[in-house]
Amino acid sequence: MLREIEGSKAVAATVAACRPDVICAYPISPQTHIVEELSRLVKAGQLRSEYVNVESEFAAQSVAIGASAAGARAYTATASQGLLFMVEAVYNASGLGLPIVMTVANRAIGAPINIWNDQSDTMSQRDCGWLQLFAADNQEAADLHVQAFRIAEELSLPVMVCMDGFVLTHAVERVDVPEQEQVDAFLPPFQPVQTLDPEDPVTIGAMVGPEAFTEVRHLAHRKQQAAVAVVERVGRDFAEAFGRDSGGLLHTYRTQDAETVVVALGSVTGTLKDVIDVLRDDGVAVGLVSLTSFRPFPDAAMARALAGAKRVVSLERAFSLGRGGIVEEDLRRVLWGRGSELVLTTVAAGLGGRDITADSLAEVLRRAHRGELAPLEFLDLDENAIAAHLAALGPRTEGAAS
């Protein structure tokens, strides 16, 4: 049903329609509204689910692990420091092959503490073995949850749905919230691959030594690779069933004849489309790849989308300190062998909630198109503030200026 609704509530309503058996989360901005609404739905009897209030995110993920291993559909949500606090259990959930679904309301990680949006929290979990799907808007944020449960349970792997904190979670806009009957038709009841069943007592989480660990890891890797096709297929099925194309691996916008293509994840892709339209009107051939499935990374689809590009800009809301772009690394692999005339650059943007304005984006894309970008740039960086700081700190930061 089309509703004027806050992103968090749209997600909560959609998660509820997915009929999770156990919901367990610990509050942290900007994720709170999602789990508050779910607890209300449970309390009001509108959702039949066990809602567990815990003492930490580490416990929240652990409860999800236990519930999932017991054969229940388990859901949790977090952000930023909360995600880092549960990391040990995050890796464990994927290692055990438990199809937990978790919303991450992307937020910067401290210090300095900052509650606003960037994507450094989930990016820090790049290799944790979870699938990571990024929502471009609140319609996708809602829809991706339905797909996430199905993908997770088909693969027996956990899935993160990443949505930009505040920008999406707290934005009120029109969302077609998936109806219960539609979701029921799309998402079959959870059939666990392995479960704690006294009739068939299995040992889950055994100690594995060097003689088998490599094989276990290899199989886990193969499963991730196989996940590409599953994410794509479930995205197609969703589009057919719900009549809208949200999810899948990636979306392209005006890439057909684009010489400069920007790759981005999350809500900034909306602004980018507007900017691209303006640049196109000025005759600048720019296009966009909006990446939904960061993990698994869709190598083939990305290679196709970037086939005609001469310049690729990776617009990232997180980066690897001392190195540069994170998504850029994946793009580099995809573009490997394309010849030295191809230019790949990274623009770090919107860190800690800094606004990403259309003007700034237009400017940086124009420069990119003219081949003027450095390998790593920070959008709207206040150079004066940096210079003043370095000067005040003196010799201790020697070298940082270069």
Binding site: V22, C24, E50, V52, A67, A72, P201
Partner: protein, 377 residues
């Protein structure tokens, strides 16, 4: 014990219901089978054999012994009530020696996730089962003292506070054994571990009191808290059986000597556990909703020294010179326990001071405040 049905049959097959792997033949007296009633769950042919032989625990491991009794008792109790058991296990010796892939020594559904999250994982299992309408499956979680009193303590307290329907069992061997015998929050004062070595002016662990998690558990006013040891396995079985008859969070803290970490003989595990009780160092009691409801009286009180001398982790208290002061302070801890739980001098258990085991001089001087203890045999 309610499992009486099977005992009247004469010669059941060696493997009853696929459970018992070994039982002694040729003597009808084994395991009290001549008696009309089975006195212990382990002596019953119907025992579950939850932790089978073939695991890789050290010889004389108190934890392996404790875990086997706990889970067999829990399964028996559950089965009597028409229920089944699933287990959650923290990282630690018990997990490592019982689950080396591709083998498993567990004959019940068993889940290991991490070192610090067993109580929360158990909460999740209980919640998942409840959501699935499986009210016939009970959850037992277990971990070492490190996993319980240190790294998993936040999760444990949360589980208590929420009232989750989980029986949590801590096997207390008073250090992190799995990683090579380092100090834990439950390591007693003066004990030598790999991180509290027997060197320097005050060797061994700092002189505190160790974290008393049974009493912290009681402060949560949960339905049941008990302590037990592998020296009195009937008592352990009884407590597990009783705990299984209750719902909500229940906590059993089992004292399990570790020959490797304590530097004791494998054959001394049960003896050391008994001496811990008889000296007063490990009080055995039960509590419901925060109130102590019973304590095992000490019938033959021994000085703490009898307990200490059997373990190399305390060797520095006796060599090169006798450390009277530290031994006295340890005795004071035992005395405090004896007073706190009224373990000596009760009409039902007249205390007898008996130093015969070592023949060593009594350390009564250090126990001047022990008002109930008689001064002579």
């Amino acid at each position: 014990m309610t499992k009486t049905s099977s005992t009247s049959t004469t010669t059941p097959p060696p493997v009853a219901n696929g459970r018992v792997r070994f039982y002694q033949v040729g003597s009808f007296a084994v395991g009290n089978r001549l008696l009309p009633e089975v006195h212990s769950i382990q002596s019953s042919r119907e025992r579950h054999n939850a932790l089978t032989s073939g695991h890789r625990a050290c010889q004389g491991c108190g934890e392996a012994l404790g875990a086997r009794y706990v889970l067999d008792a829990a399964q028996s109790a559950a089965e009597d009530a028409g229920e089944r058991v699933v287990t959650v296990n923290a990282t630690g010796c018990l997990e490592v020696f019982s689950s080396p892939y591709p083998e498993s020594a567990w004959r019940l559904p068993w889940l290991h996730s991490l070192f610090g999250n067993a109580p929360a994982v158990a909460t999740g299992v209980a919640a998942g089962l409840k959501a699935k309408g499986r009210d016939d499956i009970r959850v037992v979680a277990q971990g070492g003292d490190g996993g319980t009193v240190d790294i998993g303590f936040g999760c444990l307290s949360g589980m208590f506070e929420r009232g989750d329907d989980v029986l949590y069992v801590c096997y207390d061997n008073e250090a992190y054994m799995n990683t090579g015998v380092q100090r834990s929050g439950a390591t007693p004062p003066a004990a030598r571990t790999a991180t509290t070595q027997a060197v320097g002016d005050s060797p061994g662990n700092v002189f505190g009191q160790g974290k008393d998690v049974p009493r912290i558990a009681m402060a949560h006013e949960i339905p049941y808290v008990a302590t037990a040891t592998v020296a009195d396995l009937h008592d352990l079985e009884r407590k597990v059986t009783y705990a299984m008859s209750l719902h909500g969070p229940r906590y059993i803290h089992v004292f399990v000597p570790c020959p490797l970490g304590w530097g004791s003989q494998s054959s001394h595990t049960v003896r050391i556990a008994r001496l811990a009780v008889e000296s007063g160092l490990f009080p055995v009691f039960e509590a419901e909703y925060g109130e102590v409801t019973g304590a095992s009286p000490i019938r033959r009180q021994v000085p703490v020294e009898d307990y200490l001398v059997l373990q190399r982790r305390y060797a520095h208290l006796f060599r090169p010179t006798r450390d009277e002061e530290t031994i006295g302070r340890i005795q004071a801890i035992a005395d405090r326990n004896i007073r706190r739980y009224g373990l000596v001098g009760r009409p039902d258990a007249p205390p007898v001071l008996n130093d015969a085991a070592t023949g060593a001089a009594s350390t009564l001087g250090a126990r001047a405040d022990l008002n109930n203890a008689p001064k002579e045999d």
